[in-house]
Symmetry: C2
Subunit: 103 residues, 2 copies
Amino acid sequence: MASAEAVLPHPDVAELQLESVLHALSDPMRLSMVRALAACDEPCPCGTIDVPVSKSTRSHHWRVLRESGIIRQVERGTARLTELRRADLDARFPGLLELVLRG
Amino acid sequence: MASAEAVLPHPDVAELQLESVLHALSDPMRLSMVRALAACDEPCPCGTIDVPVSKSTRSHHWRVLRESGIIRQVERGTARLTELRRADLDARFPGLLELVLRG
DNA sequence: AGTCATGTTCGACGAGCATCGTACTACAAA
DNA sequence: TTTGTAGTACGATGCTCGTCGAACATGACT
């Protein structure tokens, strides 16, 4: 059958808060997760991005990134397809993402 | 006589850490301080920028901004002349400051 | 000298956060 | 059905951070 996809709650583009975004990106672990995610060119299960922390901590970080509007997640089966909200971030904070990815 | 100026320790341009800068800017109070500072076109005593916190808290925030490399401070008399490190920030993280000041 | 202004430092307090392990949910595959 | 896989939720722990007041330092001005 067609894959059942459930969308999680995400902040709208207009609701993105600079403080929240900066705070989310100021954590080294989350920063590396964002950079790793940028290397994928398609939405990928967040489990495929490995970071040296426990499963629950990783889940926590993805939540922070999602709630600040940096990533978008869609549930498919047991997996949670994750991608950067490039266009939204560029629209709201032009240049920020590029800057962060360059390091 | 010539005004006695003492320079405080500042991180070098090459030492600026993205995480530290983002963390410093992710606090609403510090963000407003940076924006207020940007409105001055000359180095001004940090006391002239008023924020709704106590004197010691304000001092703490200036220290965080200085140690992350966002501002430069020079002592002159009892005052501490403060300015944004625009050129340094632009060199290291192009576009970031402009983006932050725009909101 | 004495006083005022500018700003730091210190200790304390409360809130938030990064981290973990365990328990739990839900889909998939055998 | 049973087992495995992907991920969340919860409670606990320890650290960091924003905040304050009080004390201190230092230069300027009378």
